[in-house]
Symmetry: C2
Subunit: 175 residues, 2 copies
C-alpha cells in the first residue's frame, strides 16, 4: 500500500467525482471527505464497541473505537482482510482528570472524557480504495467534515505502517 | 442511601431468596450475585457505549461503560433518577502500553486494553434495591460470578458517595 503520488492523488480525486459512493437520502457531496469521498454514517454512535485507547503525549486523548456489524463480526471472527463495507469509527475526547471521582476515591486516579475532539472513520472498499490498502478515510470535527487533503494523507501513510496481516488496522478487539 | 447493617444485610439476602428476579431461560440462581441477585445479561457486549475511562494507580485499568437501551436513553435525555430496568455495565482491562503502536508513532504514547480483569454491573430497580439507592450490583470475572458479599458492599458504599443528583452514578455520557 502506498499513499498516492501527487499525480495519483489528483487521479483518485477525479475518480471519486466520477464514481461517487452510493447516495444517502438527504446527503450531499458537501459532507464527504476529500480524496476518499467518505461520509459520517448516520447512527454511528449507536454502533458496537471494538476497543478503547489512551493516546498520551501531544494527542492527550481518550478514545473509543466502534464498528458497524460487518467490522465487528470480522474483528470477532479474526477475518482479515476486512470484508468490503466494514466501517471502523474512532471517537476521541480530551483526556481529563475527574475531580469529582478523585474526591471520592481520595487520590488522583480517574481520567475521563472531556470535550470531544474529532471522529475518524475508515471505510473498507477494496476496489475503490485499492491505492490505500482498500481503506478510505475521513475526519469529522463537531460533526463537520475536515476538508484537508494533507490530513487525510496522514491517515493513509500512518495506517500503511500497521501490519499488512492486520489489514493495516491498529485496533485489536477488546473482549 | 445506606449500605445495610449486618442484620439488614441478612434480611436483604433472605428477601432475595423469597423474591428472586424474574427467571431467565436456562439460568439458575447459581449465576446471580450475592445480596442483589444480579445476573450478567446475555449479549451485553453488544450494548451501546456510554463512556470510557482510565483508572490509574493500583487499579491501572482502561474501561468502557456500556448500557442497555433504557440506560442509554436516560443518559442521552438526562433522565434522573434512572428508570427501573436500566442496566449499566462496566468492562475493564489491564492498561498496557502498545509496543506495536509506539513503534509506529516513534514514541511511548499509546495505551490499549490488555487482559480483561472484570465486568461490573449496576441494575436499577427502585423497589427491590430501595436500601441501596435503587441499584443492585454484581461483579463477574471471566464471565464467572464473584460471590463475595464484602466486595458487593464496596460497590454500594462507593456509589453512595456519588451525587444523589446523578442517581449515585459516576459515569457521564461521552457524546
Amino acid at each position: 500500500m502506498r499513499w498516492p503520488s501527487s499525480q495519483a492523488h489528483i487521479a483518485m480525486a477525479v475518480t471519486c467525482v466520477l464514481a461517487p459512493a452510493p447516495a444517502v437520502a438527504g446527503s450531499t457531496d458537501d459532507d464527504r471527505s476529500a480524496v476518499f469521498g467518505v461520509k459520517l454514517p448516520a447512527g454511528y454512535r449507536d454502533w458496537q464497541l471494538i476497543s478503547v485507547t489512551h493516546e498520551a503525549g501531544g494527542l492527550n486523548g481518550i478514545r473509543a473505537i466502534l464498528g458497524n456489524d460487518v467490522a465487528v463480526r470480522a474483528f470477532r471472527d479474526g477475518t482479515r482482510p476486512f470484508p468490503d463495507s466494514a466501517i471502523i469509527i474512532r471517537l476521541a475526547w480530551q483526556y481529563v482528570a475527574s475531580a469529582e471521582n478523585n474526591a471520592v476515591f481520595g487520590q488522583a486516579q480517574s481520567f475521563v472524557p472531556g470535550a470531544a475532539t474529532n471522529v475518524q472513520i475508515s471505510v473498507k472498499d477494496s476496489r475503490r480504495y485499492a491505492g490505500t490498502g482498500g481503506w478510505g478515510y475521513g475526519q469529522f470535527e463537531d460533526g463537520k467534515l475536515s476538508r484537508s487533503e494533507a490530513l487525510l494523507g496522514t491517515c493513509a501513510s500512518c495506517h500503511d505502517r500497521a501490519a499488512k496481516a492486520d489489514d493495516f488496522v491498529f485496533t485489536r478487539y477488546a473482549p
